[in-house]
Point group: D3
Chain length 323, copies 6
């Protein structure tokens, strides 16, 4: 039974450039809305870039992605899935950050996602920089470490920056492993490339058994083969999907703070998500979209398109009994 | 008594770049919302540019103005007025246009504003191109012609274009006079400039007694003097305020389809609205903001700032008994 | 015998950024020019986007493509063909649209192309949005339906929009089939992708025997294989080539109103045209280039490059006896 | 008697964004056109920036100004003059530069303007950088030195650059005085400002009796007073008007290579030309528009608007007996 | 005696677009350079925007201002001062911020400016956001509170944000007064405008005797009159000059995070600095230039031009005995 | 032994957007610096585009590449090479061009590179347009012709332009062969594509035995196979690597004056350099980056990434005995 309340506005009725822009044109619900209890998958904006060590702007990501996401339609072109009819989806608004206090923000985010978890809502977080992932994991891994499928050009397993700062967008997965939020044996990082400071991040991965697939390996073996291995690694347990937009080549996604040349094109960028079908994705994020660095808004439009792909994978997981 | 429901979100709580963007961060109400009956002044988006004869893009105006309007705060810097506390304001969303059928769109718009009028809501329409003004006037002038204070670089009193089309963004005030929606003796057009096709529009103005203040006259006499005359002309009866963003110099407001050099700067652009205090403005519009022509978004930010000025004038009128 | 009159200016003589920009630097001829009778292939600008349901700007396409087309040189790099020496080509200017009256514009366009047909000029239309194709087909299919090779991310076979509007840029091929202008059995649509409203367009295709090649199929089989099938379908009869720039990936062609991620790169975008050699293309269009959405002008430069490829295919067809 | 051949296309017939763009939508005539003998005032493009010592791009100026000039209409808003009906105007195309050989280019330009002079055509040159002025003066001052009214932020009276190069865009007026092409006692330079290398240019002016009006003096005295003096200085003899777009403040005209803050706004930028009425302007130029430095195209649109003002002054001079 | 070592490269020798860009093309000296002891005025970059509560990007300010500052020449156009010959100036590089730890950064900045003070170098700090001013004041006010001349559209006297954060770019002058770093009786804030949260900042000013000149007052009285009062207020004691680029109208300086419409134009923006002649400015800053928000780089070019004006005022103060 | 003096600043210490930007954050040394004798590989900026026949702007290339190159880190992701530790690298600044005198500039450049050769410094030149290569070759080929591996979309073997100019960016390799600076039998040009004037360049190549690999051949055979042949052709003798950024597809590198569609993506753009390992590259250049044509700066970031790849190949060659 399709719940009309949770259906997005159609571009056949209201042109896609019109209307107050919510994610995918879904209803925008505050946490005190009477229908909040019926939401199954919620988009959550994280307008914050306090973890950025390089070029900023990701604080504007969620809003611009909302804007461009109004061009998304209702049906997947390959599978035919109509996700908004299959499960109840909503735009849950943004979580209030404190732009001048990282510690405060991390607490606010963690509390918010703990609240969603308590309600049984599977979140799709829209960043924001990659440090956003850490408080989400802290909220969601309360019952045990999660698996991780991670698309990125960087491992984000780096040691502290600037003489001792361990909480930046370059460290979240290192910290999450150290805090026991992720199961390193169920982690895979795909698309890694770019010049390196040194080998500290890769040493950490090797020491903890984290699987890194460089871009060279991905292109050599092909996406289907790599993703088959990724599904094997992550297994059937609850898993987190983290998609840093700088996974994609900067010619496709210029709007990001730390781009690295030599990444996949848009077709491959979508294919890797489609290959996550079958995983039990309990939460996901898409991060590091920085609108001020993208004069056309194309990066946000790609992000919206990828969010639809992520949503479809999660809808399929939601409909099956979870472990 | 301040009604908390109708207060905008403060940038001291949620940073101004965050959140789903509604006009001025006001609550976004559909026409079926339980509080709709309490709205006194409503912002209405008109995402349509079907009347444009030149460069388009104004269909995107309302959305980008919403986005930038989240930088507006709660108090007027000169008068100290706190408009959102004085009257109940809301974002009433966009009216559905039909982008490929101008006649259909004009009917839809007229019907919508007739509905607002029936509810006693004073509308501030956010265009959209200048043809949007016509269906609003058709809806609101049901009891008799209105006065008009009109800021623009063009008179929009032109005869038909393209071999006979009389419903374009160059004609609305000619048609409105012909239809008896405006009282030509209570009309004033300020800021007129730019190369001319011929003198047909000015002949029409002269023949009907419409007062045109060219930019040369405005700069020569000064704004206070010109606006004193304008208030005299418009008088105390119900009046409409129409603000075409191309009134402002293109160095300040490049994001518009038919810019004309030699207009006022931003300070003057705001002053002319402040000088409308005392008029009984029953409805207003701000039109012709075309985001694709403005890489910085500054034009939309100016538009949002002007809308706040317009709102303050209307709030003061709302609080006084109207004639 | 090369006709000097019809040769473009060389960049070795006048730098390519100089001069009044006509298509390919060809002579610009009005319909009353004394040499009009000698034109064999004519570029025709259609500065109109009245059929657009989403983001506009294609009205500016023809002019910016003219501008960038002055970087095209005289010889094809692979075949060695020198098209301007092989047949007489010209820039025939723009057809006057009526930007505020779609019905009027459709009539004007149809009349114009009927006139070209009467003179035996094969047109290459430069849009403008995809609704432009409909009046061209109405003019050219007077003797019977044409075949179609169609590159696009959308089928443009959609049912009416906005409560009943069947003449938008989303409907031209549906209407053309219904009006008998195209032979559905000789139609192929290549590159189709993107989220879907529903399956109505694909149902129409299936019911009428129109062949759709999705982007997934195109990438899986490869362009040579797909295009061999396309040539088979279209056959040796007169055919129309329609190229929507949104066929190409948005990273390559951001300047279009309804981009869909996951399309071909520039090399493939040119290859598909080269693979049309052998078809009897009697007319063609390239549509949906929207300059305001492309800060670098790259999309128009790609369009100009594709127009050269299309021209070369048509020149080869022109030189052979047609069926 | 108005000559229909020389009338521009009206935006009431063909929308202003449409058509092959010539200056002001005038007929585009080559020097071998049958009507060339009837041209009285001709716009000439100079697509060259070989004299630039700083940021380049002025080679693209003429084309972009053509593009934007299609928004100019037929009648002056203040005087009511309809210049295209008063004298025969045309777009005479671009003069071929040699982008890699400055000496060759200077000769080509001089020859071309000598040819126009022989035909009695008064040229309005559209640059290109300010060195373009020198070959024009060499061609036109054959019978004796001209007067000069010069709007600029720089005197362009500098000594040689880079260890001995005297032919750059910083030197044309120094060289012209030295070559006897200009009468220093009839020269006035208005708007001069910006940080200085040293005082060499002002010393040259003082030594030769050239009048420099700094921006400080212009703002202190006001434009009418300054321009009255300028008319006095230039007198009734034949005079040249040279307008460097960097005269205008960079907020208004960012598209230029060497902008200097603190210049006039657009209104004043037009007023100074209007105040040239009564001078016997036999030729003029507008230079230093650099499109790659202006994302909105506004600078070119201002340039087109200024060219219309210049044209009107020249038309009035053309209609009166010259000294 | 001019010290050749401290002279900037001339654009007559190396074109202004060439070379590694240091501030004003001055020598770039680290703190361990052998000539550091001879520096009298040093430009210091502060690449940090950790205090921003709204749109960020000021971390990129110092670098882009360096880039554009290479267009500054050696001599003041009005006074004739050649500042680089009068005192020894240098680019002292950037101070290392910690982009993810505001407390750490504030300490680093304070320590650095304390070191400059110990060496007797008068700093001109180039931000960075306005919170940068606080650690500078903490370092420089060791011997007693300073006077302040402050150009801005905001008072930056606000109470804490986001539920208790008092160290943002909206608070530095409130905190500085509370810490006794500034003498409120010798403070003047000029150009204040824009919508207000409430009156808390103005109440603080009134209670402490800080003089606020709103933009309305500035325009009404004129700059000379206002600045005469400002000099009176600040007096002859050591004073700090703080210039927030958002003092200037957004049409002139779009590249800033919190623009407010209705500010001065570029001419006035420079005049207010010139009117500071006679003050004993011991240190200065120019802050809030955000390059990602300015597609043309014009804001940084204005900032560089203003820095030259500030430098000239400080050079004149440096040459006179200080109180 | 790593020489600390020659190590770049780490982004772990100073954020990558901070500091005065030198190439790769290396020390910036003038030719009179005491450590100049220890430099092994030097980056040299050539801020000049006097050879450009089409769209200019490459004069700004070196500076913007310096800016973006501060995002490069210290270690190669595939080979693990840490080039800055392996050999002493430095930024040697820009060579002074004369922007208005091509002959003078060519002499200055040649003299400068002769000086580097005398000191035994292997240069990596950063353009600037492709004519820059000629004076470098003139300086470096004093002992005999060099081999060449050349990535480009154009052969740059064209005959003279504009009626006789043989020294443009379209001719350097033709002239170099004619002057005996290159050994045509050891030359390979890869990636050639785009419409052609005629076949004059390819005839020259065939007549002299220069190997041209078109883009079609490169894509058909694959990069490893093509590059194996390239290494075979160039052999073990001293060779020059010339990389024109327009080798890369314009979707990836829009910031160049003469882009040609259908080139390689960023991954392939880097791979071709990696496949040069084993060649004895004694000098290299990267040219034709034109920042004004690239709103995002992405082209310069790609150029910086490619320069790192080129550096790594040269470091490996430097460490081995040369022939």
């Amino acid at each position: 039974m399709v719940d009309r309340f949770f259906q997005p506005v159609s571009g056949m009725d209201l042109p896609r450039f019109a209307g107050v822009p919510s994610f995918m044109r879904l209803p925008h619900l505050g946490m005190d809305h009477p229908r909040i209890g019926d939401v199954q998958i919620g988009f959550v904006g994280l307008p914050w870039d306090g973890g950025v060590t390089n070029r900023s702007g990701a604080r504007h990501g969620a809003r611009q992605i909302r804007d461009l996401s109004t061009m998304v339609r209702a049906q997947h072109p390959v599978t035919g899935l109509r996700p908004f009819e299959a499960v109840n989806c909503a735009d849950l608004g943004d979580v209030n950050p404190n732009p001048v206090d990282n510690g405060d923000t991390l607490r606010r985010f963690q509390d918010h996602f703990a609240g969603l978890r308590a309600r049984g809502i599977r979140p799709i977080a829209v960043g924001g920089d990659h440090l956003c992932t850490l408080p989400i994991l802290r909220a969601l891994a309360a019952d045990g470490p999660l698996g991780l499928v991670h698309f990125d050009s960087h491992t984000d397993l780096f040691p502290p920056y600037f003489g001792g700062s361990a909480l930046t967008h370059g460290n979240p997965f290192r910290v999450a492993v150290e805090e026991g939020l992720l199961d390193p044996g169920r982690m895979v990082q795909i698309g890694i490339r770019g010049t390196m400071y040194d080998s500290a991040d890769r040493d950490f991965a090797r020491d903890h058994g984290i699987r890194i697939v460089t871009i060279e390996e991905m292109f050599d073996r092909g996406i289907p083969d790599v993703m088959a291995e990724a599904r094997e690694i992550v297994g059937s347990g609850p898993a987190y999907l983290s998609y840093d937009i700088d996974f994609v080549d900067p010619s496709v996604a210029p709007g990001t703070g730390t781009p690295e040349w030599g990444g996949p094109n848009a077709y491959d960028a979508m294919c890797v998500v489609r290959e996550c079908r079958g995983l039990n994705i309990v939460a996901a994020d898409l991060v590091e979209v920085s609108p001020p660095l993208d004069p056309t808004g194309g990066t946000a439009w790609l992000a919206a398109s990828l969010l639809f792909e992520i949503l479809c994978v999660m809808v399929e997981a939601e409909r099956k009994p979870t472990t």
